[in-house]
Symmetry: none
Subunit: 370 residues, 2 copies
DNA sequence: GCCCAGAGTGAATCTCAGC
DNA sequence: TGCTGAGATTCACTCTGGG
């Protein structure tokens, strides 16, 4: 990726700009495209004040006098064009986020699937403070939907910081429904006239979670509908890099000014919690070589019912009604349980000073000594 | 509508059966179509037990060895055919519900919009007890999505019982995200072998809310994927009529038997709350006055461990090691738990026909009957 | 009868490095 | 590219059986 595009806001048509980026050069895409709202007329609150709705030209697709179907056709064409350009710019193991509402998210999800993206999750952003339904004709539209997708079905090694998400959720798995407030108050960018600078500014908390979940420090995050730069602001704070594409030079100027004021957090504060998978592998035999375990030691499972004997070559031997077993700590553990698989590190224990400890404890000693 | 189709389960292909129904004859459609899950191999839990996945033939579209795109093409063709048939059977001001997950809901939403349906809401069913993600590779898939749509954009006079929904939601507008548990325990239909009779049985609470929101007593509700008849059971209980279409005669037989055991609620209890009337909160004593609960009835918590007795003045009495307690349903519930507060409406249960139900259910009856 | 431990289960697109 | 084997991975709830 040419350095002169990184951490910059580029003004112009996002499809053309994405086509000018190197292929397979970005790690993650976050996109907040126009919603194609098709609002008919003004919406009034019960007190007859007018709701400041999205009525910008960039949210219009087709002539309002034409059929609804014609508008969808134009919107689909636009959607497929920018998605294809984003897919081209994405690394093979990168992922893409798109946010939308029921007006457009079904068009986008279908287009994603048709282009070969592989859906990983749909995420519901539950708004803690949504706008009520003033007419009383529908349920309060209290959420928006994000789709998180891998570039293709075969991409298995996409980034997902599972452990960080679990920590963020008080120790249990992060669910597909996120409760977050709208972007209001001091976070909401205002113009000199005191009015909101952008009609659909997203809360930084939403971007925080997407970026923390699916990227690593130093990754390049592309946002083709940059607006006032929420993606760039959060990316910079979290030690990620960004490429912002925005058609409107006024929005781009606001975004540049906003991001320049951001102070990146310290590197050690933005690194995802390391997963166990990322830790170096330790062959079981190393414990024997290191003298932490003697050949001939008898291991047992936690209950003390199953036993196996450590051999000098790093295998275990055991026997039960099914016969003799010899092999890795995992294979023998599985065989004795009659199970299809077994994690020998946590299954097997040794007795130390009267208490039973998993051999994983010894592995940790080796790792910390490396 | 010919009487001989009403309150019946018809066995056969749902598209052909819908085409044989009179045009514009049903008030509401509820559809739970196949999701086209495209699952891979087996999935094991960390304890090595196997997940009982949906692997039925009815959820297969195309040969798994062929491309993903080919499967979507078949699924789209099927979707558009049954949606067109459902639209034909629907009255001009009727509405349609479809439920799905991220595997299929985007295809369905797109097809709905393309056929001229007008989307009213997308509703998120947040599962209070979803299955976790066992491999730590994605967010917990903790919700499903329903789409609620009018037959066309011009239909303005569809049924939406706004005030009933508001009451069900403790006096504020019902939002587009609903927190409901899975269908488990006594509600889940089992075969003689003790295994679940249908792999994807939906909870009655979900149907309750859809039917209460978008239909009136006496309305005809069509379900083209009837399965074991949850739609019919709830429709009958709420004084609505139904037409159930089901391909599998075994499922149809289970559904017929199930529905025959349902006792419809009194007409005055299932009528939507008339709009434009500000209703007071329901004091607990009103349930006693209304005869829904007799003084002397013993309430229990969900586990059946804690008990309290209903008094004629609308208070409860109970005792435990800490002494005797008397007061409101909320106070006694809190005292018995040693908790600072308690929502008595959801904490206390009564046993009805062998199953335990929160007294909130009775409050809903009072409210819907007002 | 009560309490507690343990087993069971739900629409799920669920690993990955190294040879 | 495919195959092998290490080894990482679960939440809320219900039901059953033993003490």
């Amino acid at each position: 990726m040419p350095v002169d595009n990184i951490d910059r806001v580029l003004v112009g048509d996002c499809i053309e700009l994405m086509q000018s980026l190197p292929e397979a050069s970005v790690d993650m895409v976050f996109a907040d495209p126009p919603y194609n709202l098709q609002l008919g007329g003004d919406l009034l609150r019960p007190d007859n004040s007018k709701v400041d709705a999205v009525d910008d030209d960039w949210d219009k697709f087709g002539d309002p006098s034409e059929s609804v179907g014609a508008s969808f056709a134009l919107y689909d064409k636009f959607t497929r064009a920018w998605l294809a350009a984003a897919r081209r710019a994405l690394k093979p193991e990168g992922t893409l986020w798109v946010i939308g509402s029921y007006h457009n998210i079904f068009r986008i999800g279908t287009a994603l699937q048709d282009q070969g993206f592989w859906l990983l999750n749909d995420i519901v952003w539950r708004k803690s403070n949504p706008m009520p339904n003033f007419r009383g004709k529908r349920f309060t539209n209290a959420h928006e939907t994000l789709i998180w997708a891998a570039r293709d079905k075969a991409a298995k090694r996409y980034t997902f910081n599972y452990d960080s998400m679990k920590e963020l959720n008080e120790g249990t798995q992060m669910r597909s429904d996120w409760l977050l407030p709208l972007c209001t108050g001091g976070e909401r960018l205002k113009g000199e006239d005191g009015k909101k600078a952008h009609p659909t500014q997203k809360p930084e908390s939403l971007l925080f979670r997407c970026i923390m979940a699916a990227s690593n420090p130093g990754d390049v995050i592309l946002d083709p509908f940059f607006g006032t730069g929420t993606t760039g602001a959060v990316a910079r704070r979290l030690g990620r890099r960004f490429i912002g594409l925005e058609r409107d030079p006024d929005y781009a100027a606001i975004a540049r000014k906003r991001i320049a004021q951001i102070e990146p957090l310290a590197a050690e504060d933005v690194t995802p919690k390391p997963s166990k998978r990322a830790e170096p592998r330790i062959p079981f035999g190393v414990l024997i070589e290191a003298g932490l375990l003697q050949p001939g030691t008898v291991l047992s499972d936690q209950s003390g019912r199953l036993h196996a004997r450590v051999r000098a070559d790093g295998t275990l031997s055991a026997s039960n009604a099914m016969g003799d077993h010899r092999g890795s700590i995992h294979q023998v553990g599985a065989a004795l349980q009659g199970a299809p698989a077994c994690n020998g590190w946590t299954f097997w224990h040794i007795d130390v000073a009267g208490s039973r400890r998993p051999i994983d404890h010894l592995r940790q000693q080796v790792r910390s000594g490396l």
